[in-house]
């Protein structure tokens, strides 16, 4: 009802533009290579929907630098969520584990790191597919407010937020533009 009132007070704010996202991903790619000393043993798995497209971009970035193809796929956390029965049942997304993950280093990719609950669910999902040597986490945005002891290994941008705000990531593949904005909350949040 007073959304317009608040809307005037708290307008949507663009915090990353297309170039910003691109540069952040390029930097993360270099950090991944530095930390893991190469990509032979790497699998990049995104959490659908937007984490998956970020994972594809990240894999392309890694290929550009190293000249070798990187395994890339999707890990859907929906069936492992801790709010089943508490919230509305969420639609399932794609699960695509391209190679056996036993003994590999898995880099999980998501758009926004918030409570950490999605990451926990995704890690449990991964464990059902095998025993990776390590799981690392790359996120485009870390907005704080963790509810579980989880942190990201690679962060595109730290954006301090209030819980009354939503961080919205728009990607060309799904939304027709590349942008990260902060908007006042209107109902349910995806993170």
């Amino acid at each position: 009802m007073n959304k317009t009132l608040r809307g005037v007070k708290m307008k949507a704010k663009v915090v990353m533009d297309s170039q910003g996202i691109e540069r952040a991903l390029a930097r993360i790619a270099h950090e991944i290579l530095e930390k893991n000393k190469g990509i032979e043993n790497l699998v990049v798995l995104g959490i659908p929907t937007r984490g998956y497209y970020l994972a594809i971009r990240l894999a392309e970035e890694l290929e550009k630098i190293e000249g070798v193809k990187v395994h890339c796929g999707a890990v859907d956390a929906t069936l492992y969520r801790d709010d089943i029965g508490l919230k509305k049942a969420k639609p399932l997304k794609e699960m695509d584990i391209p190679v056996p993950i036993d003994g590999r280093i898995v880099v999980m990719v998501d758009d926004v790191l918030y409570t950490g609950r999605t990451i926990r669910a995704a890690m449990n999902a991964l464990m059902d597919f095998g025993r990776p040597e390590a799981i690392q986490l790359a996120v485009l945005v870390d907005r704080g407010h963790r509810e579980l002891p989880i942190r990201a290994d690679y962060v595109g941008k730290n954006i301090p937020t209030s819980k009354k705000e939503d961080v919205k990531v728009y990607l060309e593949e799904t939304d027709g533009k590349n942008e990260v904005t902060i908007i006042p909350r209107e109902g349910d949040n995806e993170a």
């Binding site: 492992y80 089943i84 029965g85 508490l86 509305k88 639609p91 399932l92 794609e94 059902d128």
Partner: protein, 311 residues
Amino acid sequence: MRLKRKDLLGIEELSSEEIELILETAASMKEVSEREIKKVPTLRGKTIINLFYEPSTRTRTSFEIAAKRMSADAINISLSASSVVKGETLKDTALNLEAMNPDCIVVRHSVSGTPRMLAGYLSSTVINAGDGSHEHPSQALLDMMTVKEKLGRIKGVKLTIVGDIAHSRVARSNIYGFTKLGAVVTVCGPKTMLPPGIEALGCKATTDMQGAIKDADVIMMLRIQLERQKESLFPSTREYARLYGLDPVKLEKAPKDVIILHPGPINRGVEISPEVADGPWSLILNQVTNGVAVRMALFYLLLGGIKEEFS
């Protein structure tokens, strides 16, 4: 889009969006059954009771496997081993089961409308696993899933259902489902097996088998319920097999890339010849595989949300 209902009693009551949602969810669920560890923790602590008043291998096993792959606890009750033989009424059985706090009761019964009656008495979710000659919704959903998977679409697909349409809950659920998604459905069988007025459901009806399969994309053969033949709907099974059984000779009249479905159990040599049932056109076993995925999707969509929202 979500399933905002407590029960699944039939396809008739579903919107096309709801059907699409179930099919999409089922397509994702299929992957779980292909894993080495075929189990997800989604429905931990949920109890599902399979209450089957009619014999069933496929459907009951499929519901049970689906429940277990979602980490729910599945309990099977079959007619011979239950208090029914002691004379307990269906309502009493159901109320007693409900007193043990299950989350879902999957029911099959030979009387049409039984699941609806139970859904009224019970606060648990009720899923219809086949009631009389009324509906068999999960079968129709897995049939739609199989066709969509193979042909990539359902809209515009020409489906011909051959057999005892009058007594078939599979036919009825499929007519509802396929027409809702935009398929063109023709039902075919001897006159004694075509219920008058079936066209009101949005399908064509014919007794001419060759004409019905001539340009079909999908042929669905129904099982001849030999246990019903007391009603003598046709002179002999041999005659039925000759006129309406699908064999390689009749199949030549159909398009080359036609696909064949059958809800099982098949009567080899009656409604379908072994060469056809085992041939490259047949997707009968894909249907069974997809059945588990469809039932996992139903459990997830009906039991995975908040209960209060559909009261």
